[in-house]
Amino acid sequence: MARQPPGTAHIFLFLEEFLDRIEVFHALQKTGQTAFLSIEKIFNAIFGERLNPFYYLGAITYFLLWIAIGTGLYLYAFFETGVAVAYGSVESLTHGQWFAGGILRSFHRYASDGLVITMLLHLVRHFTFDHHRGFRWFSWVSGVVLLWLTFASGVNGYMLPWDRLAQFVVTATTEWFDALPVIGGSMTRNFITNANVSDRLFSLLSFLHIGLPLGVLAVLWVHTQRVPSAKTNPPRPLMIAIGLTLLVLAAVKPAVSQGPVDMATLPATVDFDWFYLLAYPLIQSWGGKETWYLTVGVSLVLVVLPWLPPLARGKQASWNLAVHPDERIIAARTGETLLDAGLRAGLPMPFECRNGGCGVCKATVLHGTVRLNPYQESVLTAAERASGKTLLCCAEPLSDMEIEYVPQSGAQSLPVQLHVARVTRLEPLSADVMRVMLTPLDGSVLKFYAGQYINIVLDNGEKRSFSFASAPHAEQEIELQVRLVPGGKFTTMVFEQMKVGDTLQFEGPLGTFTLRQDSEKPIVFVAGSTGFAPVKSMVESAFHTGIDRKMILYWGVRRRSDLYLGSLAEQWARDHANFKFVPVLSEPQPEDAWTGRTGLVHEAILADFPDLSQHQVYACGSVQMVQAAQPAFVKHGISSDDCFSDAFHLAPQRPLDSQQADVVKLGGSHV
């Protein structure tokens, strides 16, 4: 081996040492990932995947900042910015109106402290999971700017009560700035005696406490711009719980001042806020210059982290993703997750935690390979992975891909179009229910989601709504189940005049009542009469896509003969271990020879499930049935997030028994 000149040898040694350090760096990340995943697993068990605070660290920081700003506005209204009156005004605020100003001062302080915790956890989490590289560098670097602005805001805030802690903070801060070459030793002279501090100078400190938080807000806005569909609000239960926690803390341990400033004396100790003032003992013991070296050095290291080895994975700049059911091809940047790519392209991809903890974004890889970032094993089992399932929020494409997902909010992304279809089959299912099979005339395959409906457009322009009874994968024909309503214009026509070969005009797909895959909770389907139609579509779709959640169908009808596809439901129960069928008759007659469940369908459910908190309910049927069932289900613990029905969604906008509500009544029970 040729002898290298000494300079080269030094460079090699340096590189070797550097790479060793990178190894340590990776080991740190690995350990951090394990630690976060373990803690998050515990928190998932305690809070549930959708309310795990670790999945909303950024959003919680936002929330706490809003609290700090809101409470700060109130405090500012009573705060006097004169050096002689500032302390007194804060004391008056704290003790004179303890029930408002006092509580809000404490709330302000504790929210500010809390946001340091969540902000730092947010930063560490993104670092440990390597979420600071590639296109994410922008958010990362703006995050470092936010760190400085946040600490500056907090430190500045501690100057305003003009108490002993303010005396320390203002002295140490100016001493720190005095260590800078340009400033020399001139800044501290402004605070050397009580007389040196002018009202104008003190007002400047006060106004800084408006300017700096405004700067935080501005940079925060920039910080989140590069994150598609960034969640800046945590779920409401988390907001309430965190807010209440801090309010209780404010009441139990009120924030108080520590005696007025007296520059002529120095207290032996001060009660210290270690969240914001952690670096200050260094200024005192090390010196200002050394503390600058440390803080600026750490900041610079943070800023260059996204470009430290290993750099971009592979040379491919982006991958093409063919996405179903949107039927779109979008680009994913290197290092970008499928979810981020989809959201950036405006696709309604489902997501919640974005951290591989909740499983809401589970989807299917039809073609191509992905690299999965760390996630909770419980939300994506090895068997699911083997069958092609993936988590959109954790999967980074390693090739061009084809994926399929269930949209978050139903058919928003699917175009609603006017179609002409031919009636290909008419099959009476019972005395008053007709199966109508339709095929679009143009030969196109209608894309829709299980649970959606179409509007049949009558000659006079009136519309009649019917749910798809067929599943989306049954692409050949559209199945509707039409119940005869005496006097009904369209249904009478179906039963008395319609024949195979007739054409119909319809628009669709419509509706957001679709089967969600964002939960592992058992599903309770509630079908009333022809509400069975969308249930059939959803159940068949669930079987087809391999959903293994427990499903139980309660089908409520008046008479045995109304169970027009009871044998099909029984067959499902025989074929699928995770499916159970419970028919319920409300008006059984002796000739029915009925030995099964009787009564109202929702009462049967409540008898079987006194606690519905761990279930999801899909209710499809008459508006009256839904109207009766919903409050009863809520009383038995169902969360509004777990209760799905178009009728439910209509309730706030329209009276359930109104003409307009009936237009979208489910299950084809319209006239």
Binding site: A264, D271, D273, Q614
Partner: protein, 173 residues
């Protein structure tokens, strides 16, 4: 009570404990542990001044030959170099050196004030302070002052230099 309800209740209890732990961390570290600013029996000297020293060279009149070499708009008769001298300061306490510093003037042309700020911990009690300052190119201490003070624990003594006050000023509350 069903298992579901029981486990639900347990989860709520654990959630309350988790929020409680969050609150406890905030409650503790927002004020504790207290930070010690000085020893129980210490006083503090703050040496702080900002002083423009004498010019290194006195003004002199330019000769006609020198003026002719300058651009027409630069032909001022007097040549006054702007550079100021370093400031030397010595502060003794009880006849022992407490602090020494030689500080240059600020500014690109070294024509600004020399500024010093130092925080010095000392034992509380009776002390004799002697301060001397030299601000000329000759380095001679033209300013000096001696005071005998009794400082209580925590008391701050400010040693300033104000030309308008005739030199050193010792401020103590």
């Amino acid at each position: 009570m069903s298992d579901g309800v029981r486990s639900g209740a347990l989860r709520y209890v654990l959630q309350v404990l988790a929020y409680g732990a969050f609150a406890a961390v905030i409650a503790y570290f927002s004020t504790s542990p207290p930070y010690r600013l000085r020893g129980d029996n210490d006083a503090l000297v703050k040496l702080s001044f900002s002083h423009s020293a004498q010019l290194v060279q006195a003004c002199r009149e330019r000769s006609e030959a020198e003026l002719a070499k300058l651009a027409p708009n630069m032909r001022t008769k007097m040549d006054c170099p702007r550079q100021r001298a370093d400031v030397l300061l010595e502060l003794d306490m009880d006849d022992k050196p407490l602090y020494r510093i030689k500080t240059p003037p600020t500014g690109l042309r070294q024509d600004g004030a020399a500024t010093v700020y130092r925080r010095l911990d000392i034992p509380a009690g009776r002390h004799v302070f002697r301060a001397r300052l030299a601000d000329g190119p000759d380095g001679i201490f033209h300013f000096a002052r001696e005071v005998d003070l009794n400082l209580a624990p925590g008391q701050v003594l400010i040693v300033d230099f104000l030309t308008s006050e005739g030199g050193f000023v010792f401020i103590h509350g």
